[in-house]
């Protein structure tokens, strides 16, 4: 709670600063320095986050090698830890589905859940599965590893047997290896692209057309917030979009204890991106909040950027209240899930309607036709 108040206070100060410094802008001429914001996004947030993710995935790959070389409980637990760290780091980058991430379908390949356990097992039997095919989305990435490292058998002894005495043990290990290699390859490809040429292309595309970097990434960000964070992590398991709650659809279903923490990480990453907070220094640099303040954007007399930051805070508080295992939370007290969903939903309105209107950005996605 203290932290939230602190952040609010700092936002308030920034609001004061930026409006002191700048002449009240004319509505029709938005002269905000989009390029400076893009540079902050790329150099202080996006690339450092991908670098951090890549380190985590490298560790995951190394621990997978160790595990498949010598299957022991210790190695399994090391691999599980690396998986959890990389999964948490993934929450920092999942929202940036642009450039190589978009063309490689980064999020769909790394985090489609619920995972399809039948397909995983048939892929193992068939061997040589092409994980770049969209039909394999739900048999790879973090959720598939979640199943293979935590849920493939009743207890740790039986899980270890899946990789040792099981008639398909070699193929089972191979599948873990190919999943991790494919994740590693995706991470490297996206990071390298940002480091090599995409960074300049991104920051130089600083106009305000639908294909400009700000417009595109803003759409990607809000799409992510709405579909992956609000719906995927909370709303869908809570049954907001179905007749009954779907607890088995939580993120990290098989590891059981990480689903709430993954949601917290994702929410923090979203908030920090909104505020332009550097992943390197932790400092609040140019972000959406500054852009909105520059435009003097208000809603019903309140400062819009402060409303959004405060709502991120309320959402955090609501998710903090939940059980570590959201599966249990849905089963035991789904109402708390619905409260968290409502808190997240309020920011969909503020971001998707009010912020986009203020920034004159059109929504470029619609809800799918459903057929």
């Amino acid at each position: 709670m203290k932290k939230i108040i602190f952040v609010l206070a700092s936002v308030a100060i920034i609001v004061a600063c930026s409006s002191d410094d700048s002449v009240t802008p004319d509505d029709s001429a938005d002269t905000f320095d989009r390029k400076a914001m893009l540079i902050n996004w790329a150099d202080e947030i996006i690339i450092p986050r991908y670098e951090f993710f890549d380190i985590a995935v490298n560790k995951l790959a190394a621990d997978a090698d160790i595990f498949t070389d010598e299957v022991t409980l210790e190695h399994l637990n090391d691999l599980r830890n690396s998986w959890q760290l990389a999964y948490t780091a993934f929450q920092n980058v999942s929202m940036f589905e642009i450039g190589a991430a978009e063309s490689s379908r980064f999020r769909d390949r790394l985090n489609s859940y619920p995972t399809n356990t039948d397909e995983i097992l048939s892929n193992i039997t068939e061997g040589n599965v092409d994980l770049s095919l969209p039909s394999t989305n739900d048999a790879q990435g973090f959720p598939a590893l979640d199943y293979l490292l935590f849920g493939v058998a009743e207890n740790d002894t039986a899980i270890l047997e899946f990789y040792t005495s099981h008639p398909n043990a070699a193929a089972n290990k191979n599948y873990v290896t190919s999943l991790v290699q494919s994740m590693h390859m995706l991470s490297e490809a996206v990071l390298t692209d940002w480091q090599n040429q995409y960074r300049d292309e991104f920051v130089n595309n600083d106009g305000s057309s639908a294909s400009s970097s700000v417009d595109k990434l803003t759409n990607d960000f809000i799409f992510y917030y709405e579909k992956s964070l609000r719906a995927g992590k909370i709303g869908i398991p809570a049954g907001v979009f179905s007749n009954e709650p779907l607890p088995e659809n939580v993120e990290g279903r098989y590891s059981k204890i990480y689903s709430q923490q993954l949601a917290v990480s994702a929410l923090r990453a979203a908030r920090h991106f909104f505020e332009g907070r550097s992943f390197i220094s932790g400092k609040d640099e140019l972000g959406y909040d500054d852009y909105l303040n520059y435009l003097n954007s208000t809603k019903n007399g309140d400062i819009l950027s402060a409303l959004i930051s405060a709502q991120f805070g309320s959402s955090k508080a609501a998710i903090d209240d939940l059980d570590d295992n959201l599966y249990d939370q849905v089963q035991n007290d789904n109402n708390a899930m619905l409260l968290a969903y409502d808190a997240l939903q309020r920011n969909v309105i503020l971001l998707k309607v009010d912020m986009l209107q203020a920034l004159s950005i059109d929504v470029d996605y619609i809800d799918a036709d459903g057929d």
Binding site: D108, D130, L133, P134
Partner: protein
């Protein structure tokens, strides 16, 4: 829609006023009919409404559609078995469908008005649908685990879904399903059961006037024909007397897309208009008022034709947007649906001349335009081509491309 209904009743009343003036000098309307609250008609306490054959065919088409992408079990023979079912054959999972003597293929492009004396085109269309199945099985199935590329069949991502396409970019299940909306549902409805050639066939009028029902049935032949038209739109509805309750959910064919068009603010109310026309037309048959009946048939023909045309344009335009956004998987899905709806245009009905809004050659030209911007069909299609086809479709109606596209 209320205004339209009222106009129709007034017109009918007026007409009869005139004719009764001649007879007796007093303006007593005979056979006056009003739109009933729901689609419920009885004779001696027994319902006279029956369209089980249509319900069966819709259910068969649903099973066929869901079997299309069942790569593990479907074969060309199993899909063809569902399309051209023979009584007693074990083609479906539902035993009731297996026992049925109905099938889809024999009613495809089989209306009296359009194909009664045009077996050549009817056969051509049936073979075209056969071809969709064989292309899917022979071209797409072997490549189900291949990434699609220009000229290479396989799978492609559409958002988080995998779509399975031919080398030309066509998703055959979409082409088949949306084509069937025209070739089966609309054709049977507009050009067969709502046709005077069918409604008034043989002694139907005299029988209907004299309440002579079909042997062992509660309905007259004419009543039944009208119901069969109704069944191609509402045959799978949960509540047959008030089918608008679950409009859009009853089936994946005409019912679903009437709901979609009705959901567009530019066309809101069209579902009620069609439903009202079915009710009033059926009530007119009960009242032996054939003028009102045929006016309602004309409304249904116009509106159902519009549903097909609006949806064709809608998908061509969504496909265009997806191509501009370089979302090829999304584009191919939309354009495959669009292709099926364009194919369905052949079965629309223009009340001005009683023929289709689009001739065989016009539809063939559209299809050819879609596939011939380059060597690889939809992979090469341009926004200009999609706009040209959309404009050509809209030009036959009173709505614009923009109104249909949103």
């Amino acid at each position: 829609m209320r205004i339209l209904g009222l106009t129709t009743i007034c017109a009918a009343t007026l007409f009869f006023s005139c004719s009764s003036d001649d007879d007796s000098g007093t303006a007593i309307p005979i056979n006056e009919v009003t739109t009933p609250a729901n689609y419920s008609f009885t004779r001696d306490g027994e319902s006279t409404v029956s369209f089980s054959g249509q319900t069966t065919r819709i259910a068969m088409a649903e099973e066929l559609m869901s079997a299309f992408n069942d790569f593990d079990t479907s074969t060309e023979a199993s899909l063809m078995g569902m399309f051209a079912h023979v009584e007693g054959e074990d083609d479906f999972t539902d035993p009731a469908l297996n026992a049925s003597d109905k099938n889809i293929r024999s009613k495809t492009a089989a209306s009296t008005d359009y194909f009664g004396a045009n077996a050549t085109e009817s056969n051509l269309i049936k073979s075209t649908f056969d071809g969709y199945i064989s292309t899917h099985i022979n071209e797409v199935y072997p490549n189900a685990n291949t990434a699609a590329a220009p000229g290479v069949a396989g799978q492609i991502a559409d958002g988080s879904s995998a779509r399975y396409i031919t080398g030309q970019g066509l998703e055959m299940n979409q082409v088949f399903g949306k084509g069937l909306i025209g070739a089966l549902m609309a054709d049977q409805m507009l050009n067969n059961y709502l046709s005077t050639a069918v409604l008034d066939e043989g002694t139907n009028r005299v029988d209907n006037d004299n309440d002579i029902t079909v042997e062992d049935k509660a309905y007259t032949n004419m009543e039944h024909k009208w119901d069969e038209a109704y069944g191609y739109l509402f045959g799978a509805s949960a509540n047959e007397v008030n089918p608008l309750e679950d409009l859009g959910e009853a089936d994946g064919f005409l019912n679903k897309y009437l709901f979609r068009v009705d959901g567009d603010a530019d066309f809101n109310g069209i579902a009620q208009e069609i439903y009202d026309a079915f009710k009033l037309g059926r009530a007119a048959i009960v009242a032996s008022n054939y003028e009102v009946r045929d006016e309602q048939a004309a409304i249904i023909r116009q509106k159902v034709s519009e549903v097909i045309a609006v949806r064709a344009i809608y998908y061509l335009q969504s496909g265009k947007t997806a191509i501009i956004n370089q979302d090829l998987g999304g584009a191919f899905h939309d354009l495959s649906e669009g292709y099926g709806f364009v194919y369905s245009l052949r079965f629309t009905r223009n009340n001005q001349d009683g023929s289709s809004f689009f001739s065989r050659s016009e539809v063939d030209d559209f299809i050819s335009m879609m596939l011939n911007d380059g060597e690889n069909g939809l992979w090469d299609i341009t926004p200009q081509t999609l706009d040209a086809i959309s404009e050509a479709i809209a030009s036959k109606f009173s709505f614009t491309v923009a109104e249909a596209a949103d």
